[in-house]
Amino acid sequence: MNCVDVQEAMSPYLDGELERVDLQRLEEHLIACGTCRIEIDGVRHVDGMLAALPRSTGGVESPGDHRPEAPFPRRWMSRRPPGWVMAAGLLLAFGVVWVARPPGVAAPPARATVRLANSAYQVHVEGGTLLSIEMYDSQSGSVRVNGVGGGR
């Protein structure tokens, strides 16, 4: 076996996938050839470093994204529509109630809260003007305020 053969058989050798006859010939070559020994030692060294890497540290996290691991694939659970869809639905419902109210009936309450999945949405209306929609996410504990005006 010459140096080129050793280079070609390097991975099968390191991974224990080499036939016994080839293994013996390769090891005989390594005893005689310092260059191939250095090469294989180098590869072994790098293999060791890569193998020692913890699985959990791969990659970087997107800033501010600390979602808890879902107990099951999210798509198999009932999927919640995006926040903007829910907010739009909420607005629409609010508008229908407002427009359809009988004459002389008092305006709806200035604040209404709707709970959907893990989030609560609070709509704030004053004097017929929509001031804000606030969303509280009980999973992340975050509050997002989607200001929608406020001016009269």
């Binding site: 280079q7 070609e8 058989a9 390097m10 991975s11 099968p12 390191l14 991974d15 996938e17 250095i38 090469e39 030692d41 180098g42 590869v43 060294h45 790098v46 293999d47 470093m49 890569l50 193998a51 020692a52 890497l53 913890p54 699985r55 959990s56 540290t57 791969g58 990659g59 970087v60 996290e61 997107s62 994204d65 979602r67 691991e69 879902a70 099951f72 694939p73 999210r74 798509r75 198999w76």
Partner: protein
């Protein structure tokens, strides 16, 4: 949802997520990608022939998903994604281990995605050549050649960084 599939999911989800994270360099995207992998695996259970183990089959789907993701990213950004360590401040007695880890992360960052996948599947997942051949749709002999290339690439980077003999 079958009980067997749920078991498969529980047993492999963390490993597949970690594999994707190593390949694409972003844990958040990797979590989504891993979900897609299992959704695809679940939807295509009928295509599983049993010629390989279920784990090999799932890793094959994961590799394809990551390769697609990287292709899309390359097109979108015109550059390869980053892969860096999480970078917690090291305690003094951990310094050398942390330095080794950072060096290993740098090596992975600089080699090609395919080489990265090959080395991770071999060195982290401990897959044999037969299983890897099914993932990459090739022969065990070709896996030996591909791993040689990947190892040489990694060694060249390690030497450039001054961390290998």
């Amino acid at each position: 949802m079958t009980g067997e599939f749920e078991q498969l999911y529980q047993g492999l989800h963390a490993r597949v997520t970690a594999f994707c994270a190593r390949l694409i360099g972003c844990r958040t995207a990797a979590a989504d990608l891993a979900q897609d992998v299992f959704v695809k695996a679940y939807a295509s259970q009928g295509e599983f022939t049993g010629r390989s183990s279920e784990a090999t089959w799932v890793f094959r789907i994961a590799w394809n998903a990551c390769a697609d993701h990287l292709r899309r990213e390359r097109t979108r950004r015109g550059a390869m994604v980053r892969l860096v360590s999480s970078g917690l401040p090291p305690a003094e007695d951990m310094e050398s281990r942390v330095a080794d880890r950072e060096a290993a992360e740098r090596i992975l960052e600089r080699i090609s995605p395919r080489s990265r996948a090959l080395l991770m599947l071999r060195l982290h997942e401990g897959l044999g050549y037969e299983e890897m051949a099914r993932i990459f749709d090739t022969t065990p002999g070709s896996i030996g050649v591909m791993l040689n290339r990947a190892r040489k690439e990694a060694l060249a980077v390690a030497r450039e960084e001054g961390i290998a003999p």
